[in-house]
Amino acid sequence: MITKTTTLLATAVLAAGALAGCGAGTPSAGSTTTAAASTSASTPALSGTLTVFAAASLKATFTELAKEFEAQHPGTKIQLSFAGSSDLVTQITAGAPADVFASADTKNMAKLADASLLDGAAVNFASNRLTIAVPPSNPANIAGLSDLARDGVKVVVCAPQVPCGAAAVTAEKAAGVSITPVSEESSVTDVLGKVVSGEADAGLVYVTDVKGAAGKVTGIPFDAADKAVTTYPIATVAASKNKELAAAFTALVSGDAGRKVLSDAGFGAP
């Protein structure tokens, strides 16, 4: 027993000596040490792979922010997975290896919080609002929300079960308008697709969707959209094995860098 411990100790001492020797032998040893020290002072040495589950509407912005993060912290890798918020919640609940979750609504984030699957509280980092999307030629001459209730206008919305549909119902109620849609889609992407392809005369989508569609649809803002603003929260998942990295990424998203990228894409302040 004693011999074993002694051997171990000896090995440790030898190893430490060897390491120190190496450091001393390197020409730029002094500068390296200082650099390392200053890095660890601002952020603890970050490394490893971070898996981020984010709502589909965050695809463009989070892809950009992940690149920015990887550039700021060499040796880290951000893996992004985009889907509908409720799909992602289902996956995380089923044990999917997510470190960070960014939801398109507070309701889906609350599902994880209620199931004690979050590490700490969620932070709201952005907001989004509805707008009317029409094909560039605007075949039905839509000028506002009330035009969507006209007979013969083909309107596509999200089903009330999904966040964008819930927001649409709220906006309709606030404006006192009753729309009879030709289709209630399961995702805002499908609504946008029907408008882009010209099948629908108009659709209710997010401001960021119109901006992302880059000219394929025209956005027509309406007042009642103020009553149906959705909030985007982000949080670290309790099962994450790299919580420091998760916290650093969350800080980037909710900080100034994130704010800039998100507002460029049309997202509002939280």
Binding site: K154, A159, V182, S183, E184, E199
Partner: protein, 283 residues
């Protein structure tokens, strides 16, 4: 008659080595276990209420109606297509067969996009249809078209195989006896391949029932008009996973009934069962 005599001989030797049973059992479990897992997740006390809700019944009714319509359309279009592919001899026949079977391997969403650019308002035929006053997008017709698109190859493939197996000797005899081609088709060919046609139609019905991607892309989703059972399940999953599981089980049950109704006997075997009918089958 020879075939029947062969079948009635006792099965003394099977060409299947014993060890095959193990991977076969794993294969069967691979298909059955997920279905069992789903059945175990069903909220049985609420099952009745979940599957008889207004939206569920509307979706189930729409699914059955559209699948029946698609099956009829598949028969009307698929039988001639299978006949041409099995009996005809023309340039590009192989290519045509390969292309007709394409929807089998295409992701349904691709089918939906293709249909959209054909029958949609801005599509290839859309302009003509609009002038004719026909609006297909967002209508039940769109659902039927999407289902027919994905289900047609199943019927064609199944029937073409049966036609080739049946051979042309009976048709040739009928023709030498003076029957005209249409008479041969009606009196000889179709009765001969009826079991194959039936199983092909059932496959087409089952595939139509499960259609999801092309419908979602091409037809949209509106209760009672275009929201079939798979689309309803997809939507219910968002808010009420219990309802989604319950409806999934209903879809599985309908599919099992449909498939079992034709696969009680191996396809093509029309002889009456020799063993006494099982207890449950007696009136």
């Amino acid at each position: 008659m020879r075939a029947l005599a062969h079948r009635s001989r006792p099965a003394a030797y099977t060409a299947v080595p014993a060890w095959i049973v193990v991977p076969a059992a794993i294969g069967a479990a691979f298909i059955l276990l997920p279905l069992l897992a789903m059945a175990l997740r069903v909220d049985w006390p609420r099952f009745g209420a979940l599957v008889t809700s207004e939206s569920s019944l509307a979706a189930l009714g729409l699914s059955l109606r559209t699948s029946a319509a698609s099956t009829v359309l598949c028969i009307l279009l698929g039988v001639p297509l299978a006949l041409v592919l099995a009996r005809g001899r023309f340039a590009g026949q192989r290519l045509l067969r390969a292309l007709v079977l394409l929807p089998l391997v295409l992701p349904p969403v691709v089918g939906g996009i293709a249909l959209l650019y054909t029958f949609g308002r801005q599509g290839l035929l859309g302009q003509v249809l609009t002038v004719a006053g026909i609006q297909i997008a967002f209508s039940t017709t769109a659902v039927v078209l999407a289902q027919t698109f994905v289900a047609l190859p199943f019927l064609v493939l199944s029937l073409e195989g049966t036609l080739r197996t049946a051979g042309t000797s009976y048709e040739a005899v009928a023709a030498t006896l003076g029957a005209r081609p249409s008479t041969v088709l009606r009196r000889v060919t179709i009765p001969l391949v009826l079991p194959g046609l039936a199983s092909g139609a059932v496959l087409a019905f089952a595939r139509s029932l499960g259609e999801f991607g092309a419908t979602l892309t091409f037809a949209g989703s509106l209760q009672g008009t275009t929201r079939t059972l798979p689309l309803e399940i997809y939507l219910q999953r968002e808010t009420d996973p219990d309802a989604a599981v319950a409806l999934s089980l209903v879809l599985v049950a309908v599919a099992v009934i449909v498939v079992a109704s034709t696969y009680r006997r191996p396809p093509g075997e029309t002889a009456a069962p020799r063993e006494p009918a099982p207890e449950g089958a007696r009136p």
